[in-house]
Amino acid sequence: MSQPTFEAVNLTKRYEDGVLALDHVSFEVHPGQIYAMLGANGAGKTTTINIFLNFLEPTEGEARINGVCTHTDPLAAKAQIAYVSENVMLYPAFTAMQNLEYFTRLGGRDHHTKDEYHRVLERVGLQREAHDKRLRGFSKGMRQKCGLAIAILKDAPAIVLDEPTSGLDPQAGYEFTQLLTALRDEGKAILMSTHDIFRAREIASTVGILNRGRLVMQRSAAELGGADLEQLYLEHIAGHAA
């Protein structure tokens, strides 16, 4: 099998206050796969993402992007990763285009033309007339689209999403998942955390359930088959809480 794009090896994080946020978590995400992390608030989903982004250093273990360790060589790792946060916040005083251009350049891609920016914004579903409007008046769905546009333009093999569809209306949520599957089909590896069991079931290649820092269940779409994911989720959470 090819080299995994995301690779968590015995990822462990203990905070200074002693809380064990991640406890020897290991998983892989390969190109063309979507890995959905499920779990209650505080289960360790965001901590995992923060380690992949080098916002946190693991206490033990390693997170790798295409084989590059995120905490020993953060810049090389970050060159290959794009990030869409739960609530994409861009500079409110800038237009969508200006934000896009800025963040794309930060990502190290400064060869794009204006047309390409427009094309990508249109691809993520942002109406042409909104391109040159300031972000101040944008709805959450529109901001989320901008965030994804930034990720697309960065053209990174790895994309991390932190609860990207929470708070979106059904239409926006649907469009968003469509885009994700399209990206997956282009060969991107996608790591996302979500509370949305229905959507995870629908698009994920692999589903992992985290509870109190431990990966308590991990099944591929094939392994899941026709099982009721919601039932499984509740079982695993309850089983370990007890």
């Binding site: 982004l53 080098n54 916002f55 990030y83 800038f94 963040f103 930060l106 400064d110 965030g147 930034i150």
Partner: protein, 488 residues
């Protein structure tokens, strides 16, 4: 990548509503302070000119060399337009004559306390107090704000070294604020040059130095604000921290230095010194009087047994010599008094200088104080102005008195009037040396010779260096703080 962040910061500042508002206020403030400064300077210059004329007229009207008294006046420096310093606090003039020591009197604020109520509003004050506040306003949330809004995470999800990010951010904010500040500053300079303030090349050089100093000071605050934002978590926390830092630096630290120096180094007051000098003067004259009595007694004794005619003849023969003896004695006393006065003055100045040195060394823990002291130094309105003026006036006084002495001798003996009550000759009053006006054409006039620009700039240069160190240290703190910043 560096330039991308810089450009984004620049754009971010220039597009913000905060910027539009503050830019307007700052522009108005700067221009107003300069206009006010010009008006203050021209009024001061006019007052100086009239005072010089009046003093000259008084000299011309003087009728005898003994009573002649000149007035030495301190002209306002054109840079008062930008930095009032202690210009309004210390005396504008001193009487120059043989019997009084140099003493600066009639400060602007003492003459017209109305102007002292709210003090003056100069560019230095605007930069020191208002611009520093604005620098904070634009930097306090540099990191915390982006963290709270989530853009920091998005930015750092990119292969962007943290050092590059923070330095680019600092550069962007700095450049944005500075570019916008230069507009009203340049406008202000234009107003100054159009308003007819007489500025020489060296004055322009000093103005240049003043602007470099302001720039450095401003940079310290920009870097300081960013540093604070890398050591705090939320914008409101950074704002409070910045405000506390600002109050401590601008309002408290400078004064604490002075207070401490006052406690540590004791200096006698002027009133005390004056009274001491008066006491010495009185005692010296007393002694002289006693000697005089003694001498007259001896002279009387020498005439013991003379007949009335013999006495007359003896007296007439010796009178001139006696007068000269007395005159010499009188002069010796005056010299002694002058020397004592100068010694006291010197002593006072030394003690005061020591106190000032300590005070300002302590105060220099605050960049606000460094900036203020350097600006005053450059504008020649620092505390040394008093000593410098007094010293140069003392030099003038010795020239003046030497000249008057010579003239007096040429015109023969003392002036004034003399009352003689003699038990034999009875009462007589004479004012022998009155003869209309005097020829004062070659009487030396006071020339204000300011400290040379080179020396001023060299002194202020150290302060500039110190400011640069503060700026770099703040920047280093910001880089270190951001390096270990938890961006979550």
């Amino acid at each position: 990548m560096f330039t991308t962040v810089v450009m984004k910061e620049l754009k971010g500042i220039l597009l913000s509503q905060k910027f539009a508002l503050t830019f307007g206020v700052v522009s108005v403030l700067i221009l107003m302070s300069i206009v006010a400064g010009i008006s203050e300077f021209t009024a001061g210059a006019r007052q100086y000119d009239t005072a010089v004329q009046l003093a000259e007229q008084q000299l011309r009207e003087a009728s005898n060399w003994m009573a002649i008294s000149a007035r030495a006046l301190r002209p306002p420096d054109p840079l008062v337009v930008f930095v009032s310093g202690v210009h309004n606090d210390i005396g504008r003039l001193s009487s120059i004559n043989g019997h009084e020591a140099v003493k600066l009197l009639n400060s602007v604020y003492a003459d017209d306390p109305i102007f002292a109520v709210f003090r003056s509003l100069d560019l230095m004050f605007i930069v020191q107090v208002v611009l520093s506040l604005f620098a904070i306003l634009f930097t306090y949330d540099a990191i915390t704000g982006e963290r709270e809004s989530g853009t920091l995470q998005l930015s750092l999800a990119n292969p962007l070294p943290r050092r590059t990010f923070i330095l680019a951010k600092a550069t962007g904010i700095w450049a944005g604020l500075l570019l916008s500040l230069s507009v009203p500053m340049i406008l202000g300079l234009l107003v100054v040059s159009l308003a007819g303030v007489p500025l020489s090349d060296s004055d322009w050089m000093r103005i240049g130095a003043l602007f470099v100093g302001s720039l450095l000071y401003f940079t310290v605050w920009v870097a300081g604000g960013i540093a604070v934002s890398t050591w705090t978590r939320t914008p409101s926390a950074s704002f409070m921290a910045c405000l506390v830092l600002w109050i401590a630096t601008v309002l408290i630290l400078p004064r604490v230095g002075v207070l401490a120096a006052e406690q540590l180094v004791g200096v006698p007051t002027v009133a005390e010194v004056d009274a001491q000098k008066d006491g010495f003067e009185k005692a010296a004259w007393e002694k002289q009087m006693a000697g005089l009595s003694e001498r007259w007694k001896k002279r009387e004794e020498a005439m013991q047994g003379f007949s009335k005619e013999q006495r007359e003849a003896y007296r007439d023969a010796h009178m001139w010599q006696w007068m000269q003896e007395e005159d010499a004695g009188r002069k010796a006393v005056q010299t002694e008094i002058d020397a004592y006065g100068l010694r006291l003055q010197e002593d006072l100045r030394n003690k005061r200088s020591a106190q000032e040195r300590l005070a300002f060394t302590l105060a220099r823990t605050s960049p606000a104080a460094i900036y203020q002291l350097a600006s005053m130094q450059i504008a020649r309105t620092s505390v040394t102005l008093k000593n410098a003026t007094e010293t140069s006036m003392e030099e003038y006084r010795s020239q003046f008195t030497a000249h008057v002495e010579k003239k007096q001798q040429e015109s023969g003996g003392t002036g004034g009037f003399k009352i003689t009550v003699d038990s034999e000759k009875g009462f007589s009053f004479s004012s022998p040396r009155e003869r209309g006006t005097l020829d004062i054409s070659d009487l030396p006039r006071y020339q204000w010779n300011p400290t040379p620009v080179g020396q001023l700039l060299a002194d202020a240069g150290w302060d500039g260096l110190l400011l640069a160190v503060f700026a770099l240290a703040s920047l280093a703190l910001a880089v270190i703080g951001f390096h270990r910043y938890d961006v979550r």
